[in-house]
Structure formats: C-alpha cells, structure tokens
C-alpha cells in the first residue's frame, strides 16, 4: 500500500509554552549553566578526589560546550575543601652556585623569610662596617700594618746604616734600590770625583757595594713572604671581627626558624659566606676603573636574596590555575639570562616559576590543543607527571641552541591534579598514538553534546535566564525562550534533544538582544530570536544562494517535475563553517547485461569515499540476493552523481541509488518532483541518515523557487522522523499540502512513491507479479540471463 505523506505535526516539535510558566526569564533563578552533564561531572569529581598516580583528567567535548566553566566550577569548589599548599623559594647554593637550593615553607612564611633575609643583610651592612670602624679593630689593623712596615724598613735601615759606615748610601731609584758612594755632605759622588779616587779606593768601594747589593737582594726576597704573613694576620683579624658582628644577627634568625632544618643549614652557609666576603659589606669610595679592570658585575648582596617563586600568603584555598599559553617555559618555569659584557649570565634570582609551581598542591587546567601546539610542552609535562617533581631545565640548552651558562635548580616535589580539556578527536588520537597517555590520564570526563529535551526544558529555560543575566542581556519572554529551545533542538538536529553547545546559545541570545534593542523591545521577543537566526543565515548563505541560483538557471540540472527512467534527485549536506544546507544532486544509472557488477563511477574516478563505495556494494548484493537467487546475476550497472566534481562520501544516497538502478533495469520512469535520502541495508530496509532537516529544506527551497506544484516532496527514512525540526515555511507548505514528506521503512515503499506502481511481493516460489516494479526488474534480469546463456552456448558450439 502506497505510503501517505507525514502529518505536518511530525515535521516540527514546538516547545509547549505551558511548560514554561513564566512571563520573562527575569522571574527565574540562576542555575549552574551546565545541565545534563551528569556523567562528565561525576567523572571530574571522581578524578579530582581519587588519589594515586596517573589519575589526571581529560575532559572531552567540542569547543564551546562550556567544559572549562564546568571544570573550573567543580575544581574551585573542591579546592575550597583542600588545605593551602606550601610556599616555595630558591636560595643560593654557596658551595655550588649553579645548583640553587629550594626551600619549602608553610603558606605565608615564604614572604616573611624573604623579608627576614633582606633585613638581615641590611643589618649586617650596618653592623659589619661599624665593627670595622671601631677603635679596637682600627688600632689592631694599624698595629699589624705598622709591624709589617717596620719590619721591612728596619731591615732596610739596618743595611743603610751599615752602608753608611763605609760612606755608601742606599738610595731608591724609580724601579728599585741602589748603593752609591757619598761625600762628607752625603751627596752622591759624581763620576769625575770617582775617577779622581785611587784605584784601591775605587776597588774597595766597588767590593763593598757588591757585598751590600747581595745582602739587599736576599733581604728583598724575604719581603713577599713577610707581606703574605701580615696579610694572613689581617684576614684573621677581619674574620674574627666579622664573626662578632654576624653571629648576633644570624642567631636571631636561627632561633626563629629553629624547626626548619633546611633553613638552619642555609643560615649556617650564609654566615660562613658573609664572613668570607666581609669586604663586600664595607662601603668603598668610588674608584676610577683602571685599564682592563671589569666593573662589578652585580650586587654582591644578591646572593643572600630569597627568590620566592610560590607565595600562598593571601590564599584561603588550594590553587586552581588555568594557563592560557601553555608553552614549555610557562609550564615548567624558566631561568632568565642577563646580557653582561657581551655574554649571558644568570643566577638563582632569575629563576621564574611556571604554572606547575603555582598549581602545586592544587589543580592545573590546560587546553589540550594549545598544549600540543607548543613545542616540547607535552613531553615536558609528561616528564613532570611521571617524575612527580618540577625540574627546571633550559630548553635552549638541552636543544644546544645556546651555550650560555645555565642553572640546575633543585627539583621541587609536585603533587597536583591536572585537568586537560579538548576535542574528542584529540583524546582518541592521544589514546591511540601516545603509549604514556593512558597511564597519565586515567579519568575521561566525556561531555554530552545534547540533553534530553522532554525532561530538561524547564532547567534549560533557567539556563537561558542565567546566561542573559550574566551577559547583561535583556530577559527573554516566554515565547522567546520557547523559540530558543526549539532552535536548540534544531542545532543538534533532533526534535527530542537540546544542544549543550553553550557558545551557540550564548551567541544567539547576544544577537537576539541586539535585535531587541534595534526593535525597541524591553525583553527579547520570539521575533527577535527569529531575526537573529535569520540574519545569521543571511550573513552566511552566499554560497547556498549561488548554488540554488545555478539550479534555477538550469546550469546545474535538477528536475522538479515529470518522470524519467534511470534518474533521481538525491540529497546531500554541505557544511561551510558554522552553516550547513542541503543540496539536491542528480543521480543517474545505466544498466546492461553483464557479470553482476555495479560500477560506481565516483569510485572509479577516485571521487568516491570508502563509505560511499560500501553503500554501492550493498546495492549489488541486495539486487542479486532478491532477484537472482536461482539464476546467474547477469547485470552490469553504472552509477554517477551528475555534475559532481568533488568528493562524494557517505551512504545516505544508497536508497536513491538503489531506486535509480532498478528504474533503469525495469525501464520504469521515476518521479522527478520527489527527492530522496536514506541508506539501505542488504535486506532492503531503509536506515537513518544525518542532516535530514537541511536536506528536506534544500529540496524545498529549489522547488519553491521553481514553483511549488503540490506534488513535490522528499522521501526520508522513517527512523529520521524524530529528528525533524523543519523550518516554518516548510511546515506551512506541508500543512497546505504543497509539499510532502514521506517516511519509508523499505525500498519497496520508496519505489511505490517514486513510480506510482505497486512494488510487488514475491510469492512462495519467489516469483513477483508481472506488472509490478519488482516483477519488471526480475523479468529483465531473466532476459539478460537468457541472452547470456545463448551467447555462451553459441560460443561453445563455435569452439567445438
């Protein structure tokens, strides 16, 4: 029995306003904007509460579903129950400055420790110079100096006196010492005077001078060791004086931090270092730099600073950190460098924390796509998760990009939960290709794309109210809320579901608010919502308009009336960014005697995808099993999407392809005022397809442009009826019986609509009534078989 068109009531499921008992959404209270995501929420709660290695979370959902908001809300709530984690700082390692030491402190103590150290150094900068200014030090130092000077001068004077006895004077020359004979007035005798002396006198003088020179020489050789000794004594004195000044101040700190062994150890090192470098604490007058003398590179007190990298002093809960730019350095931390005298230098004060440091003891949220886009960030993060410690390593150095000296800061133990969020595709790809992924991300929080409409309408309206309030939009009228809910169903392509894609809904409300303002409405009305929907389509549908124009002008050939053998209107969906629309395509088939093969021209020309090819193979299997169970399948058919120059993929045209092959085979013309979509299985049952609304609307628009005849319509799978959320103009045309939607369950039902003939059922012998579609198909196949047999027979006779 021929199928009747669907009732208009099945083409669109309106939102019943009686279920929305408010006049505007202003009356509704705020709710969590996330609805119907129980599975994801439970997964996240499980993930953030469970201990153990690798229980990190991957939240899967397409962008715009509000997963970050949800995760953040849940995690912040959970963080409120967790203690505030420790402060962390880096201090100088006095024995090995390239390996700074980390110190853990209770929350808030980091800043205090930093200030204490700063104060200590300020105190020492006063106390140490004061100690060295004191009379006691001064007189002791001068005594040592004087002792040293006297020791040398006495030795020289002794020699001078001895020389004087022989009328020889020890005099200083610009570069040393020399002995010279003098007259009675103690003036050096000049060469003429010397020549006047007797030879014996001259010789005597020369011998005396030679002896004195030897003695002077050996005396001068002793001076360096005497000076060294004095220097040692002075250093010893400096040390004792410095110790007296330092001990008092440092002991106070040692008492304050008595319970922290690592700070005690550090303070002992500071004490030793201050004493070793006591000269740094003595202010020096400005000096002119001599040639090749380098200026002081940096503040000598910098090495006593505390680099507080994590300060939780003001925090009341565990941290929740979202790193928007998760590159390697922003995650793991980095060591900065400073250009100095043409080279790059660094020290522990230039260690900068990463998101991991800030999130330590709490939660870190990262966008998986952004993370994977950053070179080495993913590898670095995995390494941290495996080792459970943050080890700041210079990426440039490990890649040998620079050869500057860098640091190896002591690693900081890490305890935190990592929540990655991203597309499902990323999750599945990581699962597939990264062997460590499953080990490190054991909890998947899968966000649903849609929620059940029947049970969540009221909640959904609450969500609309909350968004409107948060985004400072006008409240929605009851009808506007209903229209948004209907559009939400359309967004998911299912009359029984609502979209959870918050961004789309938020955008719709924002745009509707704009139109409401333009239209002078206090609240967003249903017409404003519709205007927003229509205007968005208008902004995006240039290509659709061009395509439809080509069909209307006959450039792309689509018939919307009449009957043709081996030709049918198939339907496909084009997705262009945020906008998708239906496009009718002419599918043609030719048949001839052959060996049971259906030639898919799309596949042969490499324009057909795998799923499409699968659909075509199913057709040949169905035709053979239905019509050629007892005889050879002597058919060859060719299928083609006419005027299609791009890739054809999917099996939603397999029902149309089946009908067009059978039409060609039986030479029965098909209605061109009907377009069809649906896939078919080997048993001839019609299966659901996607984009049913867009496809129907696509053919409707073409027919409407050419003029609705009242006979036009679309055949869809019966299982797709529940997805129908058609445009109002389509529904109105259906109500006016100008356009029909047929829902079919079998190929036969579709054939009856397309051919206006009975499909025909097989009798107990498998024979079909002759004047039915199936009968004509079977008869034609039989003819092909018989002709083939004759050919084979005459061929054999010729051979014999």
């Amino acid at each position: 029995m021929k199928k009747t068109p669907l009732e208009p009531g099945l083409l669109y499921k309106p939102c019943k306003t009686e279920s929305l008992n408010f006049s505007t959404t202003e009356e509704l209270e705020d709710i969590d904007v996330i609805i119907g995501q129980e599975r994801a929420i439970q997964s996240i709660l499980f993930g953030i509460r469970i201990g153990g290695k690798g229980y990190n979370i991957f939240a899967l959902a397409p962008p715009g579903t509000g997963k970050l908001t949800t995760v953040r809300q849940l995690v912040e709530h959970e963080a409120g129950r967790q203690p505030v984690p420790s402060d962390w700082c880096y201090v100088n390692n006095f024995s090995s400055p390239a390996k700074p030491v980390c110190i853990e402190l209770t929350p808030g103590k980091g800043k205090i420790f930093q200030q204490d150290m700063q104060q200590l150094i300020e105190e020492l900068r006063i106390a140490i110079p004061s100690s060295f200014e004191g009379d006691e030090y001064r007189s002791r130092a001068e005594e040592l100096e004087e002792e040293s000077r006297q020791r040398e001068s006495q030795a020289i004077e002794k020699l001078r006196d001895e020389a004087a006895e022989s009328h020889i004077m020890l005099i200083e020359t610009p570069t040393g010492y020399a002995f010279a004979p003098v007259d009675k007035d103690e003036n050096v005798i000049n060469p003429e005077q010397f020549k006047k002396l007797s030879e014996t006198e001259q010789l005597s003088i020369q011998e005396s001078i030679a002896k004195l020179q030897k003695r002077l020489q050996s005396l001068l050789k002793k001076f360096p060791s005497w000076r060294k000794e004095t220097k040692r004594h002075l250093q010893e004195l400096n040390r004792v004086i410095a110790q007296l000044a330092v001990n008092h101040s440092i002991d106070e700190l040692k008492t304050k931090y008595a319970e922290q062994e690592n700070i005690q150890r550090y303070l002992e090192q500071v004490e030793k270092d201050v004493i070793d470098h006591v000269n740094d604490f003595i202010p020096h007058r400005e000096q002119v730099l001599s040639f090749l003398e380098l200026p002081q590179g940096s503040d000598p007190f910098k090495r006593y600073q505390v680099n507080l990298i994590v300060d939780h002093g003001d925090r009341k809960t565990a941290p929740v950190v979202y790193e928007d730019h998760p590159n390697y350095a922003n995650l793991i931390g980095r060591v900065d460098h400073l250009a100095y005298m043409g080279s790059l230098v660094t020290d522990f004060t230039m260690i900068k924390p990463g998101a991991l440091h800030r999130a330590n003891g709490g939660y870190l949220l990262l966008d998986a796509r952004k993370l994977l886009m950053q070179p080495y960030a993913w590898d670095g993060l995995k390494r941290v998760l495996q080792s459970r410690e943050i080890r700041i390593e210079s990426l440039e150095k490990s890649l040998s990009l620079i050869s500057a000296a860098s640091l190896e800061p002591e690693p900081i133990p890490l305890y935190f939960k990592l929540i990655l969020f991203g597309d499902r595709l990323i999750y599945y790809l990581l699962n597939l290709y990264d062997p460590e992924f499953q080990e490190l991300f054991k909890v998947a929080a899968d966000f649903d794309d849609s929620v059940d409409r029947e049970t969540t309408v009221r909640e959904y309206a609450g969500m609309l109210a909350t968004i409107a309030r948060r985004e400072k939009l006008r409240p929605l009228s009851q009808q506007a809320a209903a229209r948004v809910i209907e559009h939400s169903s359309r967004l998911v392509g299912d009359a029984e579901k609502l979209s959870t894609h918050l961004r789309s809904i938020k955008d719709l409300l924002t745009e509707a608010d704009y139109w409401a303002e333009n239209n002078g409405h206090d609240n967003i009305a249903a017409s404003d919502v519709q205007q927003a929907i229509d205007h968005k389509i208008y902004r995006l549908d240039r290509i659709r308009e061009k395509l439809y124009e080509n069909i209307h002008r006959g450039t792309v050939m689509i018939d919307t009336e009449g009957k043709v053998v081996g030709q049918i209107n198939g339907l496909s969906v084009l997705q262009l960014g945020d906008f998708s629309f239906g496009q009718p395509s002419r599918i043609t088939a030719t048949t001839r005697m052959g060996n049971g093969k259906v030639v898919d021209i799309e596949k042969e020309t490499e324009l057909g995808g795998a799923i499409h090819s699968k659909g075509v193979l199913i057709l040949s299997s169905f035709i053979a099993s239905r019509y050629a169970r007892k005889t050879p399948f002597s058919l060859t058919a060719s299928l083609v999407f006419e005027q299609s120059y791009g890739q054809v993929e999917g099996d939603s045209a397999s029902l149309a392809e089946m009908c067009v092959i059978l039409s060609s085979l039986a030479q029965i013309p098909l209605r061109q005022d009907i377009a069809m979509t649906g896939s078919v299985n080997q048993l001839g049952r019609v299966q659901p397809i996607g984009g049913v609304n867009e496809k129907i609307e696509g053919f409707f628009d073409i027919c409407k442009k050419k003029g609705l005849t009242g006979t036009q319509g679309v055949i869809i799978p019966a299982s797709n009826v529940k997805y129908l959320m058609l445009r109002w103009d389509v529904v109105h045309s259906a109500q006016a019986k100008q356009f029909q939607i047929y829902a079919v369950e079998t190929v036969d039902e579709a054939l009856e609509i397309l051919t206006d003939m009975e499909a025909g059922a097989a009798d107990e012998n498998g024979e079909y009534p002759p004047e039915t579609v199936n009968g004509r198909v079977a008869e034609q196949l039989l003819q092909f078989t018989s002709i083939k047999k004759k050919f084979l027979k005459s061929g054999r006779e010729k051979n014999d």
Partner: protein, 265 residues
C-alpha cells in the same frame, strides 16, 4: 703675591720620581679651583740619581723581582721622561676638566732645596717626602673608612688664619677630623684661640682637636702625635720657619709624617 685682586694666586706642587703624583695633583687642583689660582708643577730630577747612574759600576736591585740590573744615565733619563709624560697628561686632564691654568717646570737638583726655592714665589706649596716611594699599605677591611685627619699648625697669625681657611676647603670634601697644633706665643689666650678655631671648624662640619706645641722641642715634639693619629695632610704657614729652619721643618714633617706638606704663604 698677597694682592689677590691684582695678581692671580699660584699653587705649586713639587714632584719627584717617587710620589703618588696623582694624589698630590688632585689636592693641588682642588685647592687651585677653590681659590681660582693657577696650578704650577715643579718636577725635580734628583741629582743624586744621575750621579749614581753615571758611575761605571752602578747597579740597582729591582724592587719587584729582587734582581740585579745595570743602571746608566740613559735608563735614568728614560725613567724620568716616562714619569714626566704621565705628569703632563695628568696636568692636561686637570686643565681640561677644571679649566685651570697649569704649567710645568723641570729642574735637576735636590727636591727640598728646589721646592723651597720656588716657594718664595707662590702662595701655596705642596710637597711630599722626597726620594721615597709612598709607604706600602696593607688591605684592611675598613681602609676606606679611615680617613686620616688633617693637621694644622696654628699660631694666630694672618697666615695661620689663611691656613685654617685652606684646611676648611680640604675638609669640605672629606669627613675627616681637624687636628690643630697650637703654637702658643707669649700673651696669647689659648682658650680664645680654641674657641675661634672650633667655630670655624663647625662651619665646615669638622671636629677640631688641639695639641699644644712645646716651644723648646718645636716640631719634633708633635711628630709623636702625628704618627699615632695618622695624617692625610699637614698645613703649615711658611712664616713659621724661614730659610734653613723651614727646610729642616719641611724635611722633618714630610719624612716623618709620611704625608703631603702644604706650606701656606
């Protein structure tokens, strides 16, 4: 010389081959700048050194390496010329930086004799222990904090008052103390002098300490104190000891005190 309105003041700094000429020039330049005076340098080539270098067996022991080296006139001349070049450069810098009128005279002879002879024509004479390198100083932790005091010999004369003013100029840039050696003449009120000096010293933010010079011992009596307290410069008015006495005093102070001596006319 004293008529400053007509003739420009002159400051003479006497140098030889040994002193820290830069420090002496700095002091002299600073004083010249404050007094708008011309700065003259007198470089004395020690005649004894040239006599020594002329002797056929002249040798020297190198101060740094303790090695024996031949000494001759050429080497001595080279040494002197090299030092002169440095002094000229330093004077040129002073001229450029402070826009002072500078001059350099080179003589060969005895340092003190030549310096004191030149002193007759200048307002201030700056000299230092001749024929010896500056005393070696060990590096102590607080060396820069120990600014040695400025010593002034004061007898209440107008020249002594000028000396006090100059001491003030020197102290202005140093946070040092002023040690005043009071040379009491008959009929002088010691307390009055001290009060006067203290008031002046307060004007240039310095604290004055007083030492009375016993007349019978003269300068040798105060040298003990100078050595004990240290000295950055000693200021004496030239009238305190003319001719032979001045030479004796200058030799004593400059040798014993180990600091520059400023003679004020």
């Amino acid at each position: 010389m004293t008529d400053t309105a007509v003739l420009k003041k002159r400051i003479l700094v006497a140098l030889d081959a040994f002193q820290d000429y830069q420090t002496l020039l700095d002091i002299a330049a600073s004083l010249a700048e404050h007094q708008s005076a011309a700065l003259s340098a007198l470089f004395v080539e020690d005649i004894n050194l040239f006599h020594l270098a002329g002797l056929p067996f002249a040798m020297e022991i190198d101060r740094m390496f303790s090695t024996e080296q031949q000494l001759d006139e050429m080497k001595m001349t080279r040494n002197m010329e090299s030092r002169l070049r440095r002094i000229r450069r330093a004077l040129s810098d002073v001229n450029k930086q402070l826009r002072l009128q500078v001059s350099l005279t080179v003589v060969r002879g005895n340092y003190l004799t030549e310096a004191l002879a030149a002193a007759a024509e200048v307002d201030l004479l700056l000299l230092e222990n001749p024929g010896k390198r500056p005393a070696r100083k060990e590096k102590t932790a607080g060396k820069d904090l120990f600014i040695r005091p400025v010593w002034l010999v004061y007898d209440g004369s107008p020249a002594a008052d000028r000396s006090l003013d100059i001491a003030g100029e020197i102290l202005k840039n140093r946070h040092a103390e002023l040690n005043v050696v009071l040379k009491i003449q008959k009929g002088m009120d010691c307390a009055e002098l001290k009060k006067k000096i203290q008031e002046k010293a307060a004007g240039f933010h310095a604290k004055a300490h007083f030492f009375v010079m016993a007349e019978e011992n003269g300068f040798p009596s105060i040298m003990q104190n100078v050595l004990q307290k240290g000295s950055s410069i000693m200021i004496v008015n030239r009238e305190l000891g003319e001719s032979a006495e001045t030479r004796k005093m200058a030799a004593l102070i400059s040798e014993a005190a180990g600091c520059p001596l400023l003679l004020v006319s």
